[in-house]
């Protein structure tokens, strides 16, 4: 199977999986969420949304959302307890907070609560004849809501049980044929609608592989039945189209006892009408541990924290941002000092959520952490000792500045970008690997502004040997690859799904995908003079055709729209111009987030290159501030790194307290994580002072210096070194597995270095050092700290008892290498 086809399959599976989870979330929500009785209290005022409503068809209804505002600034959703009454039942009637049409005319609905009273004007028209169900906005919305056309069911490319619909109804033309005419009209019964297979299967009146998906009491049942009874018709030409989805509330902070929120979904149509589509929209929560949402849009808090409630109505997606707070007994904000704006935003959120940050890490922890994060290698014991002994109160900042100027910094960060740019022999040739890597190292060494960095890659032309960034278009061998790679790297958008269909849970459409492609499809590749080289050039013509619609696509930019471009210019320049524009919200964010993720072990948006409404940042203000600082200061990456490293947030200990023990996403403590494969190998080399030999590379080459993973190293592979097949940061595996344990416990690499004749411990023995001194130096080399008295005693006792001094010292060295304190960044 080719890589591309594998990737497609994997992508689909991933989509399917996510959908399954979302679906399950909906099913489970109602059962799992404990809803406590709502205490109305004494709101100082109430608000009703919408403030008026027009019901322009027999099928139209409107939910009224009632909010109570309290003197202390708190707000609570009181929809379920408000008394809602129509002044004229002949015009509008009410069921709970739902307003339904009864007859033409105008009236008001009165909302009473806690001594407050509000009147909502209601206009009702077009009640003389029953309105038809819209195929696009009724039938297909129901099939989407019930999950029928999800990726795991009939929306999969081959359908299920011989019945295939377009994923999330992106192709209504296909769907109408499938539902009505295909299979000799098997699925819909025009004469007796209730007998339609389309209803009887999901009702489980007829065996259905997907189980029960519909109840007769669901509003969706009525929509489907009526649509069939009305003749299974498509919407007439010129019928209004949905132009916008509006959700209410857009954002809300709820503090216990407030713990529920009804979300309203309103669809705005091209004729200016507004329809309540809450019953037809699909709701999901970005964090089910914080808040669940049921199929009707009722959000229930499960814990303190933040969650984005994603509301999808066919191809329109909006989010409602919810924050849930509660009083934590015994919590007291201790006002830790803020080193810079990073701390300001992190601590602000922590204080709000009542999470107490950990203490500052020790100098020993700091020196180890900072070396590994900035230059990828452990400090020499002498460097550690020097830092620990330094009395300068600004020594941490000084060390940060020093490390940023070390050559290893550029090499280590070039390794990270080498992954993303997929630098490998098979992709760019052996010669190309080294040339591209040298370009990257130079870019980091010289701190090339990130906008220039991106522009050089995205607009590169000519020989890949003479102009290494041109390899960008060598690894991306065709237009779709360019689209996907560029979107993920520079916009943080995983747009792959939109290649074959509108993105099932994001706003990206198939048109968007091919619209971005139109910037890159003129890029051409031809052999160079050297057999290993390739020449990238740009043709003067060539357009992208959207495969489903067959339409020629205009180049398209997110948030900007179609770009009107003159015929023969290199469209990539236009893309690059747009990309680095100061107001581009995507470009700086994804890079600062990537840097943050490298340094903190978790992105503010996680995964670091997966920005979407359904995956909100853990602090929108923080990522905005970092991105803003980045863009305003010449896209200086070292500045970003420095800002983060100098923050107290970065320098917090990994030891938790009772108020931050469960926090995993607000950076209240350092995140412990296994060293990356290359860091670990270099660390072993550092402790033993025996370097690793890589075939074809100069002696002494560190793993964190490798230009590509083409060196065959089982050790590196086992510890997650990526094969650089994709531009996804996720390709670097962070999972731990049994092979890793075996490598560390009795693998040949560790064994040979621990036993090597010239290793650190033997040199120390030869130099006449005592066991205590050798143990101390090994601790300093491996853990950047001195051993405790107990540790020294235990180690020296073991060496004495071992009989063979070397064997004993090797055991100590081996034990250190297998200690979590060594294996983990902390």
């Amino acid at each position: 199977m080719s890589w591309n086809s594998w990737k497609r399959t994997a992508g689909l599976q991933a989509c399917g999986l996510a959908l399954c989870l979302a679906w399950q979330g909906q099913l489970l929500a109602a059962a799992d969420a404990p809803i406590e009785p709502i205490v109305v209290g004494t709101p100082s005022r109430i608000e009703v949304f919408p403030q008026q409503a027009k019901l322009d068809s027999t099928r139209r209804t409107m939910h009224l959302i009632v909010s109570g505002f309290y003197a202390d600034g708190a707000v609570q959703d009181l929809t379920s307890v408000a008394e809602v009454k129509s002044k004229d039942e002949k015009i509008a009637r009410t069921e709970g907070s739902l307003v339904l049409p009864a007859g033409n005319g105008r009236t008001e609905v009165t909302v009473k609560l806690g001594g407050h009273e509000l009147n909502v004007p209601i206009e009702v028209i077009n009640q003389d004849s029953p309105d038809k169900v819209s195929f696009n906005y009724g039938t297909l919305a129901v099939l989407s809501k019930q999950g029928c056309n999800s990726g795991a069911c009939h929306g999969s490319p081959s359908g299920k049980g011989g019945f295939r619909m377009s994923l999330r109804a992106y192709d209504p033309v296909l769907d109408i044929d499938t539902l009505v005419r295909e299979a000799f009209n098997r699925r819909t019964n025009l004469y007796e609608p209730e007998n339609s297979l389309l209803l009887r299967k999901p009702l489980m009146e007829v065996a259905h592989g997907g189980g029960r998906r519909l109840k007769k009491s669901d509003s969706g049942y009525e929509v489907l039945r009526d649509w069939i009874a009305q003749g299974c018709q498509v919407d007439p030409d010129g019928a209004p189209t949905c132009v916008k989805l509006e959700v209410y509330p857009r954002e809300r902070i709820l503090k216990r006892p407030a713990h529920t929120q009804q979300v309203l979904a309103l669809a705005h149509f091209s004729d200016g009408t507004v329809r309540d589509v809450t019953q037809l929209a699909v709701f999901s929560s970005s964090d089910e541990a914080v808040a669940t949402v049921d199929a009707n849009g009722l959000v229930v808090s499960q814990d303190r924290g933040e969650a984005a409630i994603l509301v999808r109505f066919l191809d329109k997606i909006e989010t409602s941002s919810m924050m849930f707070l509660k009083e934590i007994p015994g919590f007291h904000w201790n006002s830790p000092p803020e080193n810079n704006f990073v701390d300001h935003f992190v601590f602000q959120k922590l204080q709000q959520l009542q999470i107490l940050p950990s203490e500052l890490c020790t100098d020993e922890e700091f020196v180890r952490r900072i070396y590994l994060d900035v230059i990828g290698v452990l400090p020499e014991p002498t460097e550690t000792a020097q830092f620990l002994a330094d009395a300068n109160p600004q020594k941490r900042a000084a060390l940060i500045d020093k490390l940023l100027e070390r050559p290893e910094y550029a090499e280590f960060w070039a390794l990270k970008w080498g992954d993303l740019l997929r630098i490998r022999n098979v992709k760019v040739s052996n010669g190309g690997v080294h040339k591209f890597n040298r370009w990257l190292v130079a870019a980091f060494r010289d701190n090339m502004p990130y906008d220039q960095f991106a522009r050089q890659l995205l607009t590169a032309e000519g020989s890949t040997f003479v102009n290494p960034p041109a390899n960008y278009f060598r690894t991306a061998t065709e237009t779709n690859d360019c689209t996907e790679t560029t979107s993920q790297l520079f916009l943080g958008i995983r747009i792959q799904c939109a290649k074959c269909h509108n993105h099932p849970f994001e706003r990206w459409s198939q048109d968007n995908y091919y619209g971005i492609g139109a910037f890159f499809n003129r890029v051409q590749r031809k052999p160079g003079i050297n057999p290993e080289e390739q020449v990238i050039w740009v043709a003067r013509a060539g357009e992208v055709t959207q495969p489903r619609t067959g339409k020629q696509m205009q180049p398209w930019l997110p948030l900007t729209g179609s770009a009107d471009l003159k015929g023969e210019d290199d469209r990539r320049s236009t893309f690059a111009d747009w990309l680095v524009r100061p107001d581009n919200p995507f470009f700086p964010k994804v890079e600062v987030n990537r840097i943050w993720g490298h340094l903190m072990g978790r992105g503010i948006v996680e995964p670091v290159d997966d920005f979407r409404d359904s995956n909100p940042p853990s602090s929108a203000a923080l990522i905005a501030a970092l991105a803003d600082d980045f863009a305003k200061n010449g896209y200086d990456r070292k500045r970003v790194v420095r800002n983060i490293l100098n923050s107290r947030t970065y320098q917090l200990s990994s030891r938790k307290n009772e108020f931050n023990a469960t926090d995993t996403k607000y950076f209240s403590h350092a995140t412990t994580r296994l060293l990356a494969a290359e860091q670990l190998l270099d660390a072993i080399c550092r402790v033993t002072s025996i370097s690793e030999k890589f075939a074809g590379l100069p002696a002494g080459t560190r793993a964190t210096q490798l230009p590509s993973p083409d060196v065959e190293s089982d050790f590196l592979k086992v510890f997650g070194q990526p094969a650089r097949e994709t531009a996804c940061a996720c390709e670097r595996s962070t999972d731990s597995n049994l092979s890793q344990a075996l490598q560390m416990i009795n693998g040949p690499l560790v064994h040979s270095k621990v036993r090597d004749d010239k290793n650190r411990l033997r040199v120390l023995v030869t130099a006449g050092k005592s066991n205590e001194d050798i143990v101390a130096e090994l601790y300093l080399a491996a853990l950047c700290r001195k051993p405790s008295d107990a540790e020294t005693a235990a180690a020296t006792k073991h060496i004495t008892n071992a009989g063979d001094r070397f064997r004993g010292l090797e055991d100590v060295c081996w034990a250190l290498l297998n200690a979590n304190e060594f294996l983990f960044q902390h």
Partner: protein, 462 residues
């Protein structure tokens, strides 16, 4: 709205009737509960959807008596003869706990229904049929199909048309019926009721005496019935299937009827005895097309599994598989000399292939969408397509010959009568069109829905 208005009522009625009859006839000692008459209909109606094959819920399957009396995953006996209280079947339908009660997430059985099951088990849970492994659907009392609409409120899609022997009558699929029309003027001649919801295939026997009607209720039942062509009397009902029968075709001698359907099977029945002689289960998906070779020795099939297959009609042995279409195949026909097989498919083409070696010999392209039907007669190939066309090609060279215009929706079926030289085709819209093949002139156009009055033109409303 009542649940299952049309189908449930006869059933509930039946159960009540049984109960009433029981009391009236022998108040002291009611006759024993019958599995086939009393229990099987209940299991079919209330349990089969979840506990049917192939992956029954809880590992418990009710498809036949043997399975229904076997334990499911719980390994608790579903039925302990004589002891309802030790029978999971009874315990679960009579449970008062909504989470464990069966049927799950649906209305409970009525007290009378539960009592019936209880008494059947108490009486020994006996089987009163011949083969305890016979599918439930085949042992329950046959009920007459619901009546067709007196007058149609709206047209229904036309999925089958067939000329009778002399070409003076055209049989057309209806809703729970077959309607017989005069193809010369579109006048309704007769109606044949007592057929399933959908009629998918109509075939007159070569001698003109019999009309085979195949169809059923989608997803639930398939049926094939033989009627006297002259007066619509039911002659025989040939087996019953778990899903719709899509095709029924007489062999050239008129002695056998081959049937294909959504249960993936092909069956050959002896027309005189009504006995099923051959069962072929060789396709991976619905079989929707079927044709006999002119010598009656072979059968060719068309399936949604994207293949056409050739079988020995005498023993059902598979002879050849044609996979060249690469898409779903809807219809199949032999050339007049039997040397070619034509298959019509979702690839918008008719393929011509050699039954001897399975090699593709040519194709007819140019259709805008799926080709849904293909029939042959001498040198003529007629086809109908979802692209709304009815076309005729020459067998020689597979060249286009003529188009029969007029249909405005997917054309599901086409038929040709050589003696009268008429072509008939029916579409999704419910319209049937008849043409003269000779000059392509329209002979008759009608909506095959007795009593249906088209609405006044929309323009007049405003």
């Amino acid at each position: 709205m009542p649940t299952f208005p049309r189908i449930c009522l006869p059933l509930c009625g039946l159960v009540t009737l049984v109960a009433v009859a029981t009391r009236a006839l022998a108040a002291d000692a009611p006759p024993p509960v019958s599995f086939s008459k009393d229990i099987a209909p209940l299991l079919l109606k209330k349990c089969q959807a979840c506990h049917g094959s192939p992956e029954p819920k809880g590992g418990y399957q009710v498809s036949n008596y043997t399975l229904a009396t076997k334990a499911g995953e719980s390994e608790q006996p579903s039925v302990t003869p004589g002891k309802p209280e030790e029978s999971e079947l009874f315990k679960l339908i009579s449970s008062t706990d909504a989470d464990t009660r069966m049927p799950k997430e649906a209305d409970a059985l009525s007290a009378e229904q539960i009592a019936l099951v209880q008494r059947w088990i108490a009486e020994g849970a006996k089987y009163d049929g011949a083969d305890p492994k016979a599918p439930l659907a085949s042992i329950v009392p046959k009920m007459a199909a619901p009546d067709p609409p007196q007058a149609y409120r709206r047209p229904v899609p036309v999925t089958a048309v067939a000329f009778n022997a002399d070409g003076q009558e055209l049989a057309v699929s209806g809703y729970h019926e077959v309607t017989i029309w005069n193809p010369a003027n579109g006048a309704l001649l007769r109606r044949i009721k007592n057929v399933g919801e959908r009629v998918q295939s109509l075939a007159y026997s070569p001698d003109g005496a019999l009309l085979a009607v195949a169809g059923g209720t989608p997803g639930q039942a398939g049926e094939v019935k033989l009627f006297k062509a002259a007066d619509g009397t039911l002659v025989n009902e040939l087996g019953s299937m778990g899903d719709v029968a899509y095709r029924a075709v007489f062999n050239p001698a008129g002695t056998k009827l081959a049937v294909a359907g959504a249960d993936r099977s092909i069956r050959v029945f002896d027309v005189a005895s009504g006995k099923q002689e051959i069962l072929i289960e060789d396709h991976a998906d619905w079989v929707v097309g079927l044709a006999w070779s002119p010598d009656g020795a072979k059968l060719a099939s068309a399936s949604r599994d994207k293949t056409s297959k050739l079988f020995n009609a005498a023993n059902g042995e598979s002879l050849m598989t044609y996979s060249g279409q690469g898409e779903q195949i809807f219809s199949v026909a032999f050339s007049a000399d039997g040397k070619l097989i034509f298959t019509a498919g979702a690839d918008k083409k008719i393929h011509a292939w050699n039954p001897d070696d399975g090699a593709k010999k040519g194709e007819i392209a140019g259709f805008g969408r799926e080709v849904l039907g293909v029939v042959t007669s001498a040198d003529k190939i007629f086809s109908c397509s979802a692209d709304k066309t009815v076309q005729q090609h020459r067998a020689e060279g597979l060249k286009p010959f003529k188009a029969y215009p007029g249909h405005t929706d997917s054309v599901y079926c086409v038929a040709y009568h050589p003696m009268t030289g008429r072509v008939a085709a029916g579409s999704f819209s419910g319209e049937v069109r008849v043409w003269n093949a000779e000059d392509g002139a329209a002979v008759a156009t009608f909506i095959a829905a007795p009593g249906y009055t088209p609405p006044a033109p929309v323009a007049a409303v405003k």
